[in-house]
Symmetry: C2
Subunit: 188 residues, 2 copies
């Protein structure tokens, strides 16, 4: 198995981060990987918002958690009530991928960009964790207001489609969770 | 830049394939890469349907093209009327990723799996091309019937979320299309 496939298999969702910052040279490579994902008709309808400010991350995390706890959606309340619930797991680096909602396939484009970035990060020994809560929060009016008030302003007509935290694992590299085996049909 | 990031940057949408088959050992590695993508709450709600039968691919392609030409949607008619329009570009291998539509994030999960498979393929010198037309076709009643009549039966409650052709490029490895540079904001 070559190094690329080894990196793909090595990528795990990391939920405990050290405070060590991701260096600029590594961030540049991660972003370059994202920008080279395919997009429908090469539209590249995306914008990458990188948050390295720990105070800003903490505030966003807090607002998101509070909104979930006060939500009328029981599932969100349950998630946010769990002991130790943390939207970004204190990852020192957040990357948000937004895209023009009128593009041909903005969710697909943004997801493929984030997938590339998570694999690139893994190849550099950097963990990541997809953060669906940040997307769900931004999908609400309250969330959109909160992002804007914190100064996280997406380009006009953009929706947030992908969000993840990145950083060095503090608790070792996670084990591979069990994978389903019976999920392939081959038609010859 | 390490080999993984080089593979990510090397991945291009290939639209001309040789008839050379993708070997089983390489297909296995590609599928393994897909199965190791992250999924919401590790649900792995997916199924991978692999089509290696050229006659089956040809029939699916034909039905999809005919449906587009007869569509009431002008954009689809225009696409399918273009000279040389070919849904799968005669790729010798098709992979469809479907997922349970009641899962937490089936489109995200399926897209990340396909992204992993496209990068893994690139690392093996195998080209790929995301095939949005196959997804759009399956989203219609006519398309669902056509897939089923061809024997391409997805698991119950599944939608088709990702589709791509894979194979060896016949016309050399494509050049990188121009990439937008002004798409990053860093908040320190």
């Amino acid at each position: 198995m070559n190094e690329t496939i080894t990196s793909i298999l090595k990528r795990r969702s990391v939920r405990e981060y050290s405070t060590k910052a991701v260096a600029q040279t590594e961030l540049d490579q991660i972003l370059e990987a994202g920008r080279n994902a395919p997009t429908a008709m090469n539209q590249q309808p995306w914008h990458f918002t990188v948050i390295r400010n720990p105070e800003l991350r903490r505030k966003l995390e807090e607002q998101c958690k509070t909104a979930f706890l006060e939500s009328s959606n029981e599932a969100l309340r349950d998630v946010a009530s769990q002991e130790g619930f943390s939207v970004f797991y204190q990852a020192p680096l957040l990357i948000l991928v937004s895209a023009d909602r009128t593009a041909l396939a903005p969710q697909y484009d943004s997801t493929l960009a984030m997938g590339n970035m998570m694999v690139a990060a893994a190849s550099l020994g950097i963990g990541s964790c997809w953060t669906h809560a940040a997307i769900l929060f931004h999908a609400t009016t309250r969330g959109k207001d909160a992002y804007r008030e914190l100064g996280i302003v997406l380009p006009e007509h953009h929706e947030l489609y992908a969000a993840a935290g990145f950083g060095y694992p503090s608790g070792g590299w996670p084990e591979t969770p069990p994978k389903r085996a019976d999920c392939v049909t081959i038609m010859e």
